[in-house]
Assembly symmetry: C2
Amino acid sequence: MSSVDKQLEDLKAEITNELPRDISVSDVKYEGPELVVYTRDPKRFAKNGDLIRKLASKLRKRITVRPDPDVLSDPREAEPKILNVIPEEAGVTDLDFHADTGEVVIEAEKPGMVIGRHGSTLREITQQVGWTPEVVRTPPIESSTVSNVRNFLKQEREDRRRILERTGRQIHREQLSDDEWVRITTLGCCREVGRASFIVSTPETRILVDCGDKPGSDDVPYLQVPEALGSGANSLDAVVLTHAHLDHSALIPLLFKYGYDGPIYTTEPTRDLMGLLTLDYLDVASKEGRAPPYESEMVREAIKHTIPLEYGDVTDIAPDVKLTFHNAGHILGSAVTHFHIGDGLYNVAFSGDIHYEDTRLFNGAVNDFPRVETLVLESTYGGRNDYQTDQEDSEQTLIDVINKTYENGGKVVIPAFAVGRSQEIMLVLEEAMRSGKIPSMPVHLDGMIWEATAIHTTYPEYLRDDLRDRIFHEDENPFLAEEFNHIDGGEEERQEVADGDQAIILSTSGMVTGGPIMSWLRHIGPDPDSRLVFVGYQAQGTLGRRIQNGWDEIPVNDNDGRGRSSTLKLKMDVETVDGFSGHADRQGLENFVKTMNPRPEKVLCVHGDERSVQDLSSALYHNYNMRTFAPKNLETFRFK
Amino acid sequence: MSSVDKQLEDLKAEITNELPRDISVSDVKYEGPELVVYTRDPKRFAKNGDLIRKLASKLRKRITVRPDPDVLSDPREAEPKILNVIPEEAGVTDLDFHADTGEVVIEAEKPGMVIGRHGSTLREITQQVGWTPEVVRTPPIESSTVSNVRNFLKQEREDRRRILERTGRQIHREQLSDDEWVRITTLGCCREVGRASFIVSTPETRILVDCGDKPGSDDVPYLQVPEALGSGANSLDAVVLTHAHLDHSALIPLLFKYGYDGPIYTTEPTRDLMGLLTLDYLDVASKEGRAPPYESEMVREAIKHTIPLEYGDVTDIAPDVKLTFHNAGHILGSAVTHFHIGDGLYNVAFSGDIHYEDTRLFNGAVNDFPRVETLVLESTYGGRNDYQTDQEDSEQTLIDVINKTYENGGKVVIPAFAVGRSQEIMLVLEEAMRSGKIPSMPVHLDGMIWEATAIHTTYPEYLRDDLRDRIFHEDENPFLAEEFNHIDGGEEERQEVADGDQAIILSTSGMVTGGPIMSWLRHIGPDPDSRLVFVGYQAQGTLGRRIQNGWDEIPVNDNDGRGRSSTLKLKMDVETVDGFSGHADRQGLENFVKTMNPRPEKVLCVHGDERSVQDLSSALYHNYNMRTFAPKNLETFRFK
């Protein structure tokens, strides 16, 4: 008998022992990090509201209870009973019964009302019908991404269970090595912005953190060195994704092409956004005539292998590693990632990309941990002078720029990441129009901004508290304001907009490296009355950075179907309004570290230009007396 | 056609073009780092003494010319002609014809006389008979190791040529990556003495430097991490061995068990000593009831795969790496190892173990290089107070100790490494007796000391100049002094010695971790008139270090055939006479760096206890303003 089977047998005995006599345990299995307990008495289980919590705390495991398939009631009988228990205001839009696991997935407009206080309504459902309910939100704005992901996962349910079971057995395997060390290997984003990728390794476990591309460059993480994928991609135990931006996620699907078959841990919104952004990444590559590094099938594999975690969940992902995500304030679902290694041996936190202050969209990044010895810190704005304007002042500047342009009869074109800054700017614009600070005018959303916004409204738990509450009330949902127009009519619609009255255009890509923003430059670039306004970080090597630096002759595709390109003379004004970045500025980074609890012993400054990481590393060393480093790519640091 | 075949074809054309019309080229092949040119006109080739040198310099390759097998003369006719050319005083002891390569191996007591001035006699031989002569020395003291290695290589000649050809093609393969970086990964001997092992890697090439055990511990290098052997031992391009001591060489044969099938670069004496020491290592393991990590077959594989290099030979070992060995002054054949990487990209030197000052046996370590940016420096005696007595004073102290013990009627027992310190002490004792500073008395050599000494006399080129000259004259060879007795009669002989008159005993192991020294402690340990004298470094965790620190109750095997052990009360005096170490002391290490030409930018201090590496690293930083590091095991540093 394998050590995992022995473990499960012992757990079954222990659980049986803990439960009242009249509740039977028919099977006990690992599914990913969870322990699934099958019972022939789901209703009795549900009656005793505290049982699961007690078991979980006693066994120190995440526990799910499911009915033994033998005792399931007929869905046709169960459905009306379930709908009877749930208040009508919950707005149930779908019920989906899965006889293989005894789960019923309830899609509702107001999931909170399906759950009830401390889960009371869920328990009531189980008491009535025996099935285990699982709740998902009906997107307030229709999102093809969310519905595609949900349908795909439904269809791949069986394969996914197989993956989860295998992963579960891997996580709970016997620990073999009695050696103790903790290492971080840098595979990218050191002394540069882009291609984020790290390996965290112990004698027992190897974890890949992020695997992104580099905007404005073909560089990818150093996956070819042996310490990256070792004897093959399956030598990784886990992949952890801090957030969905392509410079962190683009090459995650490539791992599956390389044969990886293990779990990806990330938040649910990051999973959906990764799907959206990586599919677009393939699309852009093919449009630009580059060979995409993997096929869309691999994006589906990545989604299928994702085990979504919520902020604060402490999760076993290997025999010697516990993972916890915390809000990073950067984009939807972005996470500060904390690894607890060994039994109190060592703790490493990766900031991922962070915003330290609250923004309109998000609460500021969490920097409070039970323990942390080493912090891997982003340094995008780590340079000596990388202080940004307060957002309040920035908003005023943006409003002034818009008003000025409006008066000139011009248009405002804002290149923005589909995910994050677009929604922040949308909130600013919506409020400014509502309160009359700028005239009401159309705000055209191009590229994937609309779709990304829909995903935001699907996961309001990940947004700032007051925004979440507004989204719950349809008539106050700022993203539904009538000024917002989804550009879904292609070049024709763009031409119309360009020929029309004053307007604001938000378009991808955020660093002007491709996408519909190129069309907008072609349409509006020659108009001296219009303005191009940068609101986000422009990485070295990108066209956005060059335009910021004064380039006014830019190569554009003629879009004549023959792939020719010509040079466009940019006549519109170019302005940069900082303060909207999704990244903490130098002050924010220092504050993040200064107020961090506990203060780490060591900080690795990464994800910044050479000067930024050096400046930040040296400042943290001098001001807070920590050991700081500005690693190069391809180095390995040992911490214990 | 492969790129190597294309290369060889081009080379053949170029060589044909360079040669006079009447010299034909029938084939051109790589054998290891050498380019072998086959000709049907070996005699004409030999007539023009400068041709090979000119070709080598023109093609920037090491070139060997061999006769096409079709034109070889009959060995029965060639032999008398060869003997006729060589002066009789050369003392030829064997001629061995190899028709497959047209080589004739000439074993002689005085190889220099076979070679002649600037190789004139060798050329004369080829002119006379067409064969390509190769010269080896007849050991002045019979050495079973040397004769076993030579016989084995003779027998495996064909297999070896296959290996060399494959290696040659690997070395000269097309370089694929246009990325540029240089890294060092530490797999052992960081903040510790023992288990030396490093990986030098570039985008193209991975080289393992040393692979040793750790005296007094079961720890071995971290070969299990993916950056060590990657997808398998054959992901290494080359193994480089700095010297034969087991803490550098013990696990080299293990690589062949793991499937390695590539070259080992080292000096010829290191190859033979490695054979001697690793076979003994297996023997000791089996005697102590431990499972040996590999079988003796693997030692033979290691020898078969060795490509011996001489000090100063600049050798291509990969498309982007040139290797050069220099005298390290530590033990016979020990080498400071210099890597020139890329075309002027970067230079790394590994000190290996070094002795900076001249000793009786060796010239001091070389620290003069064309270029070197990073030095990996041993730090055995790097500690703040690790200054050793001058050897002259140490010798006087040893003489005093011996005289005192002699007067008491006791015996002097000296634990010593078979290789290095034993021969140094032998030279001291021989001179002291010859000059009357100590009474003439038997010096018993136990363990492998005798055999190691024989190997020393086989390679006098690697010894200090004046010693080499003495060895060349049999009646002055100090190692042949009549006081030296080889203990080859086992326990019985040891008992006799113990029961007999005053004597000196030199016995392995040098750190009292096993071997015949344990017997000597049992025989002589209880005698308060005798003395145990340490003359070498005792690593932490070894019994030697414990005894040095005052332990006087030591566990000994009862040698009753039943494997029982008991505790022995040590009553003999224990003394440490420093100054004989094969290692540079703190001053020597600083001098090595201070006078190094050019001064490196970075120094990695390794191969020393935690305190020693920290002290040395900090001193070099403060005194010479270099970037210094005291790496941990399992780290990777990137230099370019």
